[in-house]
Amino acid sequence: MRPAAVGHGRRRTRQRLAADASLLAVAAAFAVPLLWLLLASVDTEADLRVRVPGSATRDNFSAVLTPDITFTPMLNSLLLCGSSTLLTVVCAALAAYPLSRYRSRLARPYLLTVLFTTCLPITAIMVPVYGLFVQVNLIDTMYGTALFLATSQLPFAIWLMKNFMDGVPLTLEEAAWTDGASMPQTLTRVVLPLMGPGVTVVTIYTFIMLWGNFFVPFMLLLSPDQLPASVSIFTFFGNHGSVVYGQLAAFSILYSAPVLLLYVLIARRLGGGFALGGAVKG
């Protein structure tokens, strides 16, 4: 037994080293573009290739930290994504409740439609959405854009929320009903607090998706002072001919930081394939 066990152990070690080496090679390929971002942001003479700056400076960051370049677009992003996230989460929680709690012949078709919609390429309908928005005077309005953004994330949010809600046992609600609580009271006082982590995941996931969305505000918002960061980032190109890559990198870091931080907050639940698993398993 012993020699075999040793051989077995050696094979394990060899396999581990091979796996480590392959993964490190892939990791390096993924790291290079990110490395450019980090190094260029502290290099006032940054160009397009990865290079270690002569001396690290904060000049790029202080150059972009102005109302025009950073604060207004970031505030726009926050207003746009914050309000649409709120709308999505409230509507999804309300819709998920009857879908999760009551039986009806229509519940399953409704859910299947929602799931079907989750998969539709939203990109494809941006041209007619533009046309509609021009006709009903919603074009170039923050609230119109927020309404559309909220709707675009709604199907997946309903689906996630319903799956989370299914995990909350009915017994506590029945107790609340016996005590004479109404349905809205039951939802807000009993069900939602019990699925706190689920609501957090839906909220943060929705916010991350909307924060990075480029095409919707690119189509529906026109005034420069209303543009969110995902679109305003284009102003780094073209205005004065040459692009200051260091400042572009610094701005990209500032713009990406919120979603990276938020992702870390929910990583454990998403990383286990939990929420995404909801999209793969019925």
């Binding site: 396999q15 581990r16 796996a19 480590d20 993964l23 892939v26 990791a27 993924f30 290079v32 573009p33 990110l34 450019w36 397009l48 990865v50 709308l87 509507c91 309300l94 819709a95 409740y97 009857p98 009551y102 009806s104 409704y110 299947l112 799931l115 079907f116 998969c119 539709l120 390429p121 990109t123 494809a124 309908i125 041209v127 007619p128 959405v129 309404l147 559309f148 709707t151 675009s152 709604l154 924060w211 480029f214 995902s230 284009f234 890559y245 572009l248 990406s256 979603v259 990276l260 992702y263 990583a267 990383g271 286990g272 394939g273 995404l276 698993g277 999209a279 793969v280 398993k281 019925g282």
Partner: protein, 283 residues
Amino acid sequence: MRAVRWLPIAPATLLLLLFLAGPIGYCVYIAFTDMQLTGSSSVDFVGFANFRRAFADPAFRNAVWLTLVFTVLSSLVGQNTLGLALAALMRRASRPVRTLTGALVITAWVLPEIVAAFLLYAFFRREGTLNAILGQLHLPTQNWLFTLPILAVSFANVWRGTAFSMLIYSAALAEIPTDVEEAAEVDGASGARRFWHITLPMIRRSIATNLMLNTLQTLSVFGLIWAMTRGGPGDRSQTLPVFMYDQAFLKSLIGYGTAVALLLLLVGSLFSVIYLRLMKVDG
């Protein structure tokens, strides 16, 4: 009283009808008209003219072909295979390597689309990092975004999208009972054989759903390609969403652009239906 219990579903349904079903219905309508952004104000019903025009248009066929190349390269081959390989390797790798790789791949995924596009733009430009590395290795360099634009944007999509497949497959592999693999190992099956004959069949449903979702996501990629190449040079990276935008807004042919959008939506619906079927089997 039963209807009142379903009242909470109303706000979501209203939003979905107004801002999703509405535009889709409007899309179907415009696709059969000659609506233009400028010029004549009257809109005429033209039947299938837009669709006939599309199938006869070399630029449209070019876009279909490039969409196919982009989808196969970046989604089927790239994201799916690399995601599966990463998930499988991670099960054998040491903890720090696993954590580091996972963090990098996921960071690329969480970054906003436009930031990812700029990073890969910098990587592929003539004076960018890829050529610098190739130069160091004394390998031929070239202007990637000019010579092989569709390959560059496909690689960018792999860089950005692989994390999704990796997470799906990590979850799928974690659910395989260990005793099955161990029994095969005791029977002397090699690692590659075990993977091909045991692991793959056991996760085939995850593979199918992941392929569906990847394909659907890749079909609608716009910002990444737009920011990297604008569909160019010429039309050499002009996939269907970019073609649609180009026709509808830069050439002001809303009717024609929308007909293309409708075709894209139909292909997406087809994949969605297959996806729903797969899900049904599972549930």
